[in-house]
Symmetry: C2
Subunit: 207 residues, 2 copies
Amino acid sequence: MSDQKGSYQQGPDPKGADIPRLQPSATVSLLDPSKDPRPAQGAGANLLFLREEEIRLAQDLLFFAYRDFTNAADVILEELELGRAHHRALHFIGRNPGITVSDLLTILRITKQSLARVLTVLMEQGYVGQAQGRSDRRQRLLSLTPAGQALERRLFERQRERLLAAYREAGGAAVDGFRRVMRGIMDEQARAYLDQSDPNEPKAKRA
Amino acid sequence: MSDQKGSYQQGPDPKGADIPRLQPSATVSLLDPSKDPRPAQGAGANLLFLREEEIRLAQDLLFFAYRDFTNAADVILEELELGRAHHRALHFIGRNPGITVSDLLTILRITKQSLARVLTVLMEQGYVGQAQGRSDRRQRLLSLTPAGQALERRLFERQRERLLAAYREAGGAAVDGFRRVMRGIMDEQARAYLDQSDPNEPKAKRA
DNA sequence: AAAGTAAGTCAACAAAGCTGACGTAATGCG
DNA sequence: CGCATTACGTCAGCTTTGTTGACTTACTTT
């Protein structure tokens, strides 16, 4: 532990080289509880503390959670010389077998040319297969080959571990809250996609 | 507890506009409930459905929520010819005034060279200022100028709207769950950073 | 005085977006 | 039928943001 980062010297440093422990002065000034503008309202039972700091914390949460979650699969991707873009395509094709190219584009919100780059590789390597649309033969219906399913599963397992641990730690009620908030953050379009994609949630089953 | 988000009607086809409505057959086959491997465990009232589908849903949630959340600030960034990387730097400098370059690097997990690129612009445009470290004069302590604070606030407001709406919709309990799960997803290092950064939260961890 | 550390910088390269311009089937409609 | 439209593919070039590697310049530490 020869290298003390910065000029802080306080207590037992848990891990020499990881966490930037910022100057307490700086940090504290930012979060000074004495200037907590929280109004002392006594309305409903579960009132929200919609202070600025709460929102800023959420920004942090999204950044770190997303970063580390996506990162979980990188080890595998690297050894196969694939990138995250490939993983994303694999994921959504796996979740929507028989999806058309244009539908996939709409989900990913990237251009045809960007998708082509990853799709070409995935097909060349035998992870994704095409089939001509039955009703519209211009369409190319995408799906995972057995190899693609296997790869997707390997990638999935890595992320699953993380999620599982987080879910266990947080508890079932928290998981429900997590889902609700995440849904609320995304666009209406994405919410609609999820509703339609998961026949469990929308209790409207059809034939 | 289940949030009945209303059902979508199958009426006119979703052409062009937004959501790719996938072939029901394809979707359903993926989510066949008949092969639900959910174990009949009895660990308390709120047992978790740790089925595969739940985890895969979370993958979707993270993708869409992160995408749309970060996207919220893009309009402003674009007119200033800045990118998301600039926003990230601005955010973390704003949240940690007086942060050193190396601490910022640790938080962002990028290289010095990558950071230099955005930091140079931010300083040239007068959004970020430097100060020599007092105890260690090699350090450059970064902080937002008034202009930087103003810009950061503009960006913040856009994201805030989204979060606020999501928080209101989901309710206070859900927000707490959201935070817990998000914390659980990220690395220990990131959790430690958050704990140390926010003197409110850090309490006895994990029961 | 020597070694190590914080920060800056040049140069080259990679991943994954983007726009623009076309080409080719297949579909749909007047 | 014939022509416009649509779904998909592809070439070419550019942008953003990340990476290595190789130094340099100040300080600090030993």
